[in-house]
């Protein structure tokens, strides 16, 4: 018998970009956004429970290409 009841799980997908600090020729540093990660999971009782966290570097261009069709 389950001892605890949970809310109905709601799927979510988040994009969590990464960043790299890059220095130009004159020594000025800027933060450059990288593809980072995509996290897929369920929200249960208001808490995000991730099931998969995968790199976004190849996935985002695939999604963009599919969307463009």
């Amino acid at each position: 018998m389950p001892t605890r009841e949970f809310s109905t799980p709601v799927p979510y997908i988040d994009h969590d970009p990464d960043f790299s600090l890059e220095e130009d020729g004159s020594g000025v540093k800027t933060s450059v956004e990288l593809p980072g990660f995509v996290e897929i999971g369920f929200v249960i009782d208001g808490v995000k429970v991730p099931l998969v966290r995968r790199k976004a570097g190849n996935l985002l261009p695939q999604l963009d290409a599919a969307k463009a069709k």
């Binding site: 990464d18 960043f19 790299s20 600090l21 220095e23 990288l34 593809p35 998969v52 995968r54 790199k55 570097g57 190849n58 996935l59 261009p61």
Partner: protein, 282 residues
């Protein structure tokens, strides 16, 4: 006898797909050809690879039967690239591991053909040891020498990013670009490194290593890379395989990353033993 340890990578950003239908090409600055060696012979001491999105098989062939059995399929390697956490969570699987090795000979050329899935990216890296490569006097030590000269230990952040083209080297990043604590005049033996995110290959390059790359896998099958070069040296007890450089040269020690996922930033922490004297003795 000028020794050298050389890392090479071959890759393809988008496979055609099919049974051994694709051939990998050498990455920029790397080569599939075995250089002209004084001894005529070298050995591949480690090899690893990955496919970006599906399982794959690699056939390694060369011209010499003493190196690779036959020119049809040679040595075949499977890559279970969707194992463990699935796509994008592995990035490097073993193909040749110590104490095994592969002999290679002057004038030969390695060929990697791949059975894979269309549009996938593919990369294979390998480290070759040359006992006598003319023009190179690479600075590598053994663990006993490092311990004998040990002063302290340091971990230094360097954050190279993989290329936007999957399988290619990303922009080189100096070992002092993100953390400047190397001390000029002190000697550093790189015992290994750690990463936050798995990548296929972490490459080191500098004039103290003949301006050739050497490096290591940093995929899921290799997550204990903190002692990588010490362990590699201990697997070949007679060889010096721990890279050494002087703190004055920190700006010339360049890190590069290969990954079968585009634009990954593994955020490398280099772990080094600081020595007052040169443990490599060259």
């Amino acid at each position: 006898m000028p020794r050298a340890i050389v890392l090479n990578t071959a890759s393809k950003a988008s496979l055609t797909g099919g049974t051994f239908a694709d051939t990998l090409t050498a990455n920029s600055g790397d080569s599939l050809s075995i250089p002209n060696l004084q001894s005529g012979q070298g050995k591949v001491i480690r090899m690893w690879g990955n496919n970006s999105a599906h399982v794959a098989e690699v056939a390694l062939t060369a011209g010499r039967v003493e190196s690779i059995h036959d020119p049809t399929y040679g040595v075949r390697f499977n890559l279970p690239s969707v194992a463990l956490g699935g796509v994008g969570t592995n990035e490097a699987f073993p193909m040749i591991e110590a104490p095994n090795y592969l002999d290679v000979f002057t004038g030969d050329t390695l060929t990697y053909t791949v059975t894979g899935t269309a549009s996938d990216a593919m990369a294979v890296s390998w480290m070759t040891e040359y006992q006598d490569l003319p023009g190179v006097q690479a600075s590598f030590a053994n663990w006993q020498s490092v311990c004998a000269n040990r002063f302290t230990e340091i971990g230094v952040r360097c954050a190279p990013v993989a290329s936007g083209t999957a399988g290619a080297y990303g922009t080189a990043r100096a070992s002092n670009a993100d953390d400047t604590r190397w001390t000029g005049g002190r000697w550093y033996a790189i015992v290994g490194f750690t990463v936050q995110t798995v990548v296929t290959t972490v490459s080191f390059k500098g004039p103290m290593w003949g301006n050739f790359r050497f490096g290591a896998p940093a995929g899921a099958a290799y997550l204990s890379t903190d002692n990588y070069f010490v362990q590699l040296q201990q697997q070949y007890p007679g060889e010096n395989l721990i890279p050494v450089f002087n703190g004055y040269d920190a700006g010339n020690v360049l890190l590069e990353v290969v990954d079968t996922t585009a634009s990954t930033s593994p955020k490398v922490d280099i772990i080094a033993v600081e020595c007052k004297n040169n443990p490599a003795g060259v």
